[in-house]
Symmetry: C3
Subunit: 255 residues, 3 copies
């Protein structure tokens, strides 16, 4: 995707500063809040059951990420998601670690069934576990990264749950259940930092404030791949993470 196209899409976000309600894991809360700001959105991280319905009702998009789930948080997600569904506020779902434990796999499938997110963003192993195929998953990292399998999984996931499926990997795959698109490129260091997948989910969420699910998915995944290529003075995963955020900001500024 051309940088100017991404810049224009980011400008559409920054011009209205949509509120992106994150219910996410404690590992990536900081970096995804910063990414939201870099993209021109406004993040709010709120998971208390007493307030999530009110907060989501003021939000443009709800992002649900089960990276460090607890029963209480899942219950609050269900509550926030139901309100979002009622108000037709789009939901992006990130099934972090689906397949790593039965608890997570079931929680992910239950939430997707009930809340009908517009987009599910995952890695390949998580996607396979959601359509109940065996996957070699270890922790929250996918050990699989085969493009043909990813295309099949994306189409299957999208068709089964009526969502757009966005699967990140060496090549990113997006599908609405029929069509399948691929996004290439990206810095290999994306695999060496925690939360690069979660950042892609946040990017999709921000674009979803202004664009259709399929377009938001393509834009979000393209933004992370493109920014990862524009990252400057990278000497390892520490400096890469810093430069990735800078690059998103510079893309938005059209620099």
């Amino acid at each position: 995707m051309q940088n100017a196209y991404l810049s224009a899409a980011l400008e559409r976000i920054a011009s209205t500063r949509p509120l992106i309600h994150h219910m996410t894991n404690l590992v990536v809360a900081s970096v995804t809040a910063n990414l939201t700001l870099a993209m021109g959105g406004l993040p709010i991280m709120a998971s208390a059951k007493e307030e999530v319905e009110e907060i989501v009702s003021k939000s443009s998009v709800l992002l649900l990420n089960i990276g460090t789930p607890t029963s209480e948080q899942l219950e609050a997600m269900e509550r926030a998601g139901s309100m979002a569904k009622e108000l037709k506020i789009p939901i992006v779902f990130d099934p972090v670690g689906a397949g790593a434990s039965r608890f997570r796999t079931k929680a992910a499938i239950d939430l997707i069934r009930e809340l009908q997110p517009s987009v599910v963003r995952s890695n390949l192993a998580e996607a396979l576990s959601l359509i109940q195929e065996d996957a070699r998953i270890l922790g929250v990292e996918s050990l699989e990264d085969d493009e043909e399998t990813a295309k099949r999984a994306a189409r299957g996931l999208a068709a089964r749950f009526g969502c757009v499926a966005a699967i990140t990997g060496k090549v990113d795959i997006v599908s609405d259940g029929e069509n399948v698109g691929r996004i290439t490129g990206g810095n290999p260091l994306l695999k060496s930092i925690t939360g690069s997948g979660c950042m892609a989910t946040t990017a999709v969420a921000c674009f979803l404030a202004k664009d259709t699910p399929i377009k938001a998915a393509v834009l979000g995944l393209s933004l992370i791949k493109t920014a990862s290529e524009l990252a400057l003075e990278v000497k390892g995963p520490g400096s890469f993470q810093v430069s990735l955020l800078d690059a998103v900001y510079r893309l938005r500024e059209g620099l």
Copy 2:
């Protein structure tokens, strides 16, 4: 404020290494712990109700930040704050997101009423919501930033609750309910990173270990503004956050 003056105030902190008990949100726990260390203080992040009273009793300052509140954490804050009040250990309060939900607004007002913090550090929308004026708040970001309104809000907040009010924005405002001071300058990127307000609160808390509330508020807000101007090699919000911490450390070292 002159850099040498800030350096001297930081040196007073570093010479005694005060313990700053943070009960804070999960987004900024890491960066505020690092800021406390950079300023020469010692951070402890502890929110379990079983230990907060003992820990606050050994601390120089208690910082309460409701950025990602839960009922349990609010209860533990009430417990820690009551002990601090009894022992005359000063409290800094950060009403993150007051106005974003009734739950937060009420929690913030209740805690301030009961615990009588020495300083309340907030943005303008949060301050307005605490004095029950309408504010355009979206998430945890203030959409208002008018200096005259901020002066009125700071004076009103300080007078109503008997605290020092410190409102950060394009121009920072500090008031004890009668007098009003303003702090100018600062890098505009402060608005593009999450937790810059929470960092200001931590800065105030560290200075409060050695200085009066009004002086600590002015020093804390000045430190963040000054360090943001001294940040080197900034290419966006990622590198800005890194350089901001470096700049605080260099100020303390008198470099």
Copy 3:
């Protein structure tokens, strides 16, 4: 320790990508996940009691860190640790803040007694509190750093609990209860960033996937000291933290 030796040990990790199950505090969850990836391991941060037994059973090592403890998390740690013990999966324990509150000291001693970790990694004040000697601890930072005391504490801790004791400080000390080794060097800025001790614990955990407890402890502590010396373009604690992660990655790549 020679860099080539560390590189070879890191290569052993990266060749099998062991899963390192972290149950840790919210301040360091992000940086320790990133360190695990930089070392070639796979991190999973999971603390829900519903899933910890299943996740630990798939893991190579379990890391328990009580930096921001709650009753629920401690209960989940007990559950995960019991499963690890039964399956002979090695445990690394980090008693963050032992001595800072009776709650933490008791929790740490109880968990060590029950779960018999292979390695306990701590600072000196924490180690002293675990063998019930008076220690000058303030928050989670040790105010003590005397090499002879550290040697005595390491030997005592290891002998009492039948583990390897790894005490970080100006000079790091490792003991199996009889022998005592020392690791020198390191960048003094390690004391100015939060989580440098927790990073050492994660480093030990990663090496423990492939090496004996005593060797893993020496390798883990050496890695952090060595990487801290290799960190480039350090202008303060912010850039140091970034460069430290880069340096670990470069060591692994043999650069």
